[in-house]
């Protein structure tokens, strides 16, 4: 579908690689509000889907799990044991609601990248990672001030270094904790999804263009390569989608813990 729109816009006989314009969407229907675009629609769909799934799984949880509850518990156990426990320890249970929401929302949004017809990773629009990263950032600072008070700003410094070192260290530490950390937190997710979508769009367009649109004897082989690479990249993307959701939630757990307790 993306390939078609890009093709339509490129028009000419020459093959043109897709650019950032594939991330721009018109309103869903002509005359509709400008904000109601495909990413917006599927961002909401994703959040509703995840609510629906966990509603079927956990609405009436049984001691002996059946069906969806089994699946949901696998997800819960994964988030708890792989994401929350290593950082939060005894605080794990308290922060599971947030980490569950973060991990599964991001993962569902990412998976949309490879679902036919949707084929768009929501997090490749930077607004969505920014919302999540800012939320975690505010939470981190709030928890730090609440649990450590003013010491929050001194606790994060390594102790016992010769004093001239601190002249260099203090600005770097503050810069990294308060400015770079939230920025990279959001941008890492965004950039991975953005690049992944670009790559998939490029190779699927290569396949589409050289096999269906302008089939030539010389170009056919290139098209086949494009299709094969698209399939392989889709598999890789599935892994990266999962990995980025995992990493985002992992960092969130780490930031929360850094606010809760001094040692990190």
């Amino acid at each position: 579908m993306n390939a078609l729109t890009v093709l339509a816009s490129s028009g000419g006989d020459e093959f043109q690689a897709p650019g950032p314009e594939i991330f721009d969407f018109p309103p869903l229907f002509s005359g509709g509000p400008a904000w109601l675009t495909k990413p917006v629609l599927f961002a909401v769909v994703g959040s509703l889907l995840i609510c629906a799934f966990f509603w079927t799984a956990f609405a009436k949880p049984k001691l002996v799990p059946r069906g969806a509850q089994n699946l949901g518990e696998v997800g819960y156990m994964f988030v708890r044991d792989q994401i929350a426990r290593p950082f939060l320890g005894k605080n794990t249970e308290r922060w599971m609601p947030l980490l569950m929401s973060l991990f599964f929302l991001i993962w569902f949004w990412n998976i949309f990248s490879v679902i036919p017809i949707i084929q768009f990773p929501i997090a490749s629009h930077i607004a969505f990672p920014i919302v999540l990263a800012i939320f975690v950032y505010c939470l981190k600072v709030y928890l730090g001030l609440r649990h450590q008070g003013a010491k929050y700003f001194t606790n994060m410094m390594p102790k016992g270094l010769p004093w001239p070192v601190y002249i260099l260290l203090v600005p770097i530490e503050y810069l990294s904790t308060f400015i770079i950390a939230p920025f990279t937190h959001a941008v890492r997710l965004f950039a991975n999804m953005f690049a992944g979508h670009m790559i998939l769009a490029f190779f699927s367009l290569v396949g589409f263009w050289f096999i269906f649109e302008k089939p030539t004897v010389a170009g056919f082989g290139v098209g086949v390569v494009g299709v094969i690479v698209t399939i392989l990249m889709t598999a890789l993307e599935l892994l990266i989608q999962f990995l980025q959701a995992f990493l985002f939630a992992l960092l969130a757990a780490m930031y929360i813990q850094s606010g809760l307790e001094a040692d990190h």
Binding site: P20, E21, F23, D24, A34, W35, P39, V40, A43, V44, G46, S47, L48, I50, C51, F54, W55, A57, F58, A59, P61, K62, L63, Q69, G72, E73, Y76, E93, M96, P97, L98, M100, S101, F104, L105, S124, H125, I126, A127, F128, I130, V131, L132, F135, F194
Partner: protein
């Protein structure tokens, strides 16, 4: 700043500049998930998992208790069995002892009875002997006198006569004894 950024985004489609409406939708989506999945559903599964742990631990504990109970019952049963065996052997021993005692008593009784019978018989024999002796003593006296009178009366003529007299006397004696025997028996 934000308006400038959004204008920039609209004009140049800078992927690093967020669309304001997407920020709003992002907040909305995230809050919906946070409330439904985080606040409502996650605590439920946490509680269920906790209950399950409790149930499993409780089940294990109950099983342990049951096992312990069974073990105690078995021990009790074994002890009872042992007691019963001891009791049985004690009773058997007692019965054996009693039997032996009864047999011994019976034997003693029988022996006493036998002794009594023997004694009675002996006493009777002794009495009869005494009786015989008394009667003999009396008869021997008279017979001796008779014999002497005969011997004297016949006047000791010759030895042949004497011996005849003695023989006759003895025969008479035998005769008398025989008749006496016939009478007594």
């Amino acid at each position: 700043m934000i308006t400038a950024a959004s204008v920039l985004a609209a004009e140049e489609n800078n992927p690093l500049v967020p669309h304001p409406y997407e920020l709003v939708v992002g907040i909305f989506s995230f809050l919906v998930v946070l409330i439904v999945v985080g606040k409502i559903l996650t605590p439920r599964i946490q509680q269920t998992l906790e209950e399950r742990t409790d149930a499993i631990e409780g089940g294990l504990k109950r099983a342990e208790q049951a096992q312990e109970e069974a073990r105690q019952t078995l021990e009790q049963y074994k002890a009872q069995q042992k007691d019963a065996a001891i009791e049985a052997s004690r009773l058997r021993k007692k019965a054996e002892e009693q039997g032996a005692q009864i047999i011994a008593e019976m034997k003693e009784q029988a022996q006493a009875e036998a002794r009594r019978i023997i004694d009675a018989a002996k006493a009777q024999i002794e009495a009869e002997r005494q009786q015989a002796l008394t009667s003999l003593r009396a008869e021997i006296g008279s017979m001796s006198v008779e014999l002497a009178s005969r011997v004297v009366g016949e006047s000791l003529e010759d030895s042949a006569r004497q011996s005849r007299v003695v023989d006759r006397f003895l025969e008479e004696l035998e005769e008398r004894a025989r008749t006496q025997e016939q009478i007594t028996s």
